[in-house]
Amino acid sequence: MKVVLHRRYRFSASHRLHQAGWSEEENRRVYGKCANPYGHGHNYVLDVAVSGPVDPATGMITNLADLDTFVEREILAEFDHVYLNEQVAAFRSAVPTSENICQVVFERLRAYPHAQVESIGMEETGANSFEYLPDRT
């Protein structure tokens, strides 16, 4: 039976949507107010989904304490209360849209040893949400 455990985490961070190789007009046209040079912030909600066999001894796919510790160390410690563009290395080269944040988070979490990471969801605001499902081939 396919069972997927979802755990939600929160972090607050600022970012700016801006491509260094583009003119200011082009950045303003594509990213609108998200290109504001001083940046702006969001309360992000991260949804980490993992799957795997349910251990009959524990009733669990993975122990939540293990997952929480891993996500805290790999993501929240570095992403919470920072300016993503400057303080998370991956976003010096990739614009920190929520689409890109999802993929960066997946790449960092895929090594989780106790279950398979199925998908990464991100709510940038209550109105805008994103989900990354890696291709399984």
Binding site: M1, L5, R7, A57, A65
Partner: protein, 140 residues
């Protein structure tokens, strides 16, 4: 294909304890969920049925019928119960969100699928707003 979802809530208590493990092991693995007196949650259950709408009614299934199935199979069994001791399907199991979601799937699948219209697609069970489990059966 159209997916129809109905949401219900139930409140129940549980505890996590494996009698084959030592008290220390139980505390290490299950933490405060191992409290012998139990603790409770307001569970939120979303049941999704997939199917093609009946051309006569425009419906995949009558939601009233689904409401009645959920009342009989889930609420009467689990609402305001101590899951470990009062729900026979969970006896001897650790009633984690995973286990409860799978148990709900097994209770609902025949009731929904045997009607001949629509098939159970997903059971989503929230233990809290930040912890939920999807059960997808054996997949599409």
């Amino acid at each position: 294909m159209v997916y129809v979802t109905r949401k219900i809530e139930f409140s129940a208590s549980h505890l996590y304890h494996n009698p084959e493990l030592s008290p220390e092991e139980n505390r290490r693995i299950f933490g405060k969920c191992n409290n012998p007196h139990g603790h409770g949650h307001n569970y939120v259950l979303e049941v999704t049925v997939a199917g093609e709408p009946d051309p006569r009614t425009g419906m995949v299934l009558d939601l009233k019928e689904l409401k009645d199935i959920l009342q009989r199979e889930i609420l009467e069994r689990m609402d305001h119960r101590f899951l470990n001791y009062e729900v026979p399907e969970l006896a001897g199991k650790i009633p984690t969100t995973e286990t409860i979601a799978m148990t709900i799937w097994n209770l609902l699948e025949p009731r929904i699928n045997d009607r001949g219209q629509g098939r159970l697609y997903r059971v989503r069970l929230y233990e809290t707003p930040d912890l939920y489990v999807d059960c997808l059966g054996n997949g599409p």
